[in-house]
Each structure stands twice: as C-alpha cells, then as structure tokens.
Symmetry: C2
Subunit: 66 residues, 2 copies
C-alpha cells in the first residue's frame, strides 16, 4: 500500500447500537439490495444494508439494515 491507514471500518446500526462488521475497508459497492464490502486483507462481505453516513476522517462507515 502506498498510503496505509486510509481505510475505514464499517459498523451496522442495530437497535441504536453500532456493531463492527468489517475493518479496514478498501472497496464498497452497492449491489441491488446488498452492499459488497472488501477490506485490505481480501476479506469480502455482502450485507443487506445501506449507507447511513460515511466519515472518512473518522474512518467510519455507518450502515443500516434495509
């Protein structure tokens, strides 16, 4: 990586609480009713959720269930 530490962590908002879903995300792509997430280690996840808010300075992506 040329510039490490620029990834973000994804949290799923559930009943007012945030649950960590995947750390160090490099790629995020909406696919129909799912979100595809991939991190710098090659881990991939698909989750039925949408983006609620992203803050790149805080390295946070907050998702909510559809």
């Amino acid at each position: 990586m040329e510039e490490p530490m620029c990834e973000a962590n994804a949290y799923l908002l559930k009943e007012g609480k945030e649950e960590l879903i995947l750390e160090d995300i490099s790629v995020l792509r909406p696919e129909k009713e799912e979100l595809y997430l991939q991190n710098i280690f090659g881990e991939q996840k698909r989750i039925k959720a949408r983006i609620r808010e992203m803050n790149l300075l805080d390295h946070r992506i907050v998702l909510e269930e559809i």
Copy 2:
C-alpha cells in the same frame, strides 16, 4: 487533521466519462434521492446521484446519476 490524505474525490459518471464533482471528501450521507457531500474545506454539495463504487485506497468515489 490527525491523518491527512485519507479523503477521497467524488466523480460523477456521465455518458461513460467521469467528471470530478468534489475533492477531498470527508463526509458522505445519502438523503432521500440525493447525496450530501462535504469536504475538508467545508464545501458542501448535494447531488441527485447514488454511489456506484468506492475505493478508499485509490481515494475514489464514483457516483452515477439517478
């Protein structure tokens, strides 16, 4: 900023070409049929678009018109 250079630039895909919409984005938030974008300089934009793909290592957020 604690960790500079972690922002991303937003591009709008139009007729197969990418048009730079806003640089150095810190906050992205879907709002109904719009996307709210804010950058590290406090500039704000709302655009009728959705996320097509985000790559944080490449510092790229590609949007497409709704």
